[in-house]
Amino acid sequence: MAQLCLCLVLVGITAYAVLGGADFGGGFWDLMAGGAERGGRVRGMVQRSMSPVWEANHVWLIFVLVMVWTAFPVAFGSLFSTLAIPLFLAAIGIIFRGTAFALRGHAATIREARVIGATFALSSVLVPFFLGAAIGGIASGRVPVGNVAGDPVSSWLNPTSVLIGVLAVLTGAYLAAVFLAGDSVAAEQPDLARAFRARALGAGVVTGVVALGGLFVLRSDARALFDGLTSGGGLVAVLVSGLAGAATLGLVATERYGFARWSSALAVAAITAGWALAQSPYVLPPRLTLDQAAASNTTLTTLVIGLAIGAIALVPSLVYLYRLVLQGRLQHEFEPLDQRFRPISPAGNVEGEGSP
């Protein structure tokens, strides 16, 4: 039962890393898009892709938190107290990101849109970094059991944490570029599709290089994790992840974005599984094992049954949402983000405006 719950947590982390990560990556490209006019089209595409789904994507994070505190309460209390700083900063970043994204569509002037957009984009980069840094703290065995039993600073400001934080940002950017290229094709914007294709290839190569180089960082900073990732199941997972990442590059290069979505998701799922295998049987290495961390069987059973019942309603809903989105049946037309602020627009009216 404990293993089943751990798997559910890993599924949640993977879903959040892929879907939420891509949303953060959208923010990354928004940040890198250049001036208001030059970047207007890229930003418009990010806005179009994210609008209907980002809230649902974000819920995966909540799912992970709730699963961990119910199924592994001692681990949750320990890691949240020791890693309070990066998690608090991530939470603040989440406030800024979500609010700025929600408000952005209502900006009336290009200046307002710039300020709100910059807040959105900057926080989109900071959140995955801090969450990645927190994971680095766990994976490198810096979070002992107890109420702030670990070092509040070096637990997340260390080579492994910085590496995983940077990788989280890059992976998000990679995923986002792959997804956005596909969405641009669907929105019939071939120039944007090309632009995102180039970004996807660039980000993919950079992510791959950093990940490979990162192995050396892990070898010197987190030997146990390194050993886990380079032997047995961990090694298999790392290889699968690497192959899936490389396959995604090939699929993107040949403009087969539909398959690229799945292979990029597989790359993330594999590395998440690899992390779990590498630190198995520990939840908080080097001491707290899965069995010690797990809640009672009654709780775990109730949790799994409850979620299974919930899934009966949830899964069809989720399928329905993504089907509507991918079929283009929800209203999310492409509009360059700066268009509303251009001096002359054909209709002279912003979408949704008009006086009776």
């Binding site: 809230e55 709730v66 949750f76 107290s81 989440i94 990101r97 109420n147 919930g310």
Partner: protein, 470 residues
Amino acid sequence: MADAALLTLAAERVTGALGGAGGPDAIIARRMQALSLAVHIPIVCFGIAFPAMFLFVEGLYLRTGDLTYKALAKRWSKVALTIFAVGVVTGTILSFEFGLLWPNFMATFGDVFGVGFALEGVSFFIEAIFIAIYVYGWDRLSRRTHFLTGIPVIITGFTGSFWVLGVNAWMNDPVGFKVVNGRVVDPQPYRALLAPNLGHELTHMYLAGYIVAGFLVAGVYAAARLRGRRDLYHRTGLVVALSFAAFASAAQGLVGDWAGRRVADSQPVKLAAFEGLGRTQKGAPFTIGGIYDAKKGETKYGIHVPRMLSILAHHDPNATVTGLDSVPAADRPPVNVVRFAFQAMAAIGTLLALIGLWFVATFLRFGRLPRSPWFYRAVIAAGPLALVALIAGWIATEVGRQPWIVYRVMRTAQAVTKSTGLGVGFAFLVVVYVGLGAAVVWLLRRLASQPPQTEVAAGAAPGGVRQAAG
């Protein structure tokens, strides 16, 4: 409730799964948590009530075909989505804070109440999915399908509240676990989540959602009416929002009585704090206003109504009501804060019910809206007042639970993180929330300043696209 004496004894023995005493900053942690809740709860009110309101208006559109209703429903749903988005992030902060501020509470009791949040997460997930489909599906889905996609939003608004309040009810009246040698064992989540307090807490909060959202929305249209906007669009906005608020605030009076009696049974010390009742007595008086003097153990300067508290708490003028002196001073909440919050909530609630009554009585008697501008001024004031009552109510119940985080089982001071520098985090959070508040006010003003959209009938334009008129 289980035997109180046993639980008091147990309290001395629960040490918490992370071991050791808590950190020194429990009061700052409580303020941080309170601030975050005070920001999140008003947003939740809109999540509870707004979907029912816009779906009702869409129903009017489907029945009459009048496009004014469609324009209003669409506008409201877009506002709801934006508020929902802000709620997504403020809710996330709360779940982070559970771990950041109260690690020992989570580590000790996560396996008892956590399932509630898991199920709340499922509700919330479905809510996020369908509110997005609903708002982005205007004019894209068939009219019937579109209407139907709104229904899960209402249902999940309810189930979400159900699970969260299940946890809160459990904190106030904990059941579903045993304490053995200072450790919490044998958790039974399904029992814990159907804590006896759930019924009244859920009903009370659910109605509060309709009162707060109803009056705040009605206030916008009341202000418009004072400026001479009397068209169907603005009148519908006013009447629908006000009707929800009026019925909810009338019903809230009955729930208040129910809640009061439940609290008297399960948390007598909290009730004593609400009422400033120093010593246990038969035929206890009800005291309006005044200040509780902890040294003398009595409430001074208030208006005493003899035997009234016994009647309210137990429906019996001679009933014994437990006073604050039933527990040691260290186990009492800060009486005046709790008492003031409770009385503010009750007074405002009464006032809101009267405003609702004014509306309903005029409507039933004359078949029209009240004419007096004072009515509309009152409605404008009612929204912010309802917010104050909402927060005051939560202060009353949460501060009234102190010094316990899990009533009579675990002390708040023991649950708190040992992190230092909470003050810095608190200051930071205040700045962030002030910014957030400013942003939301900015947005609502921006939305309110936009003229309503002109809808064109499906078929009149390709795909029923909106068309700018005028």
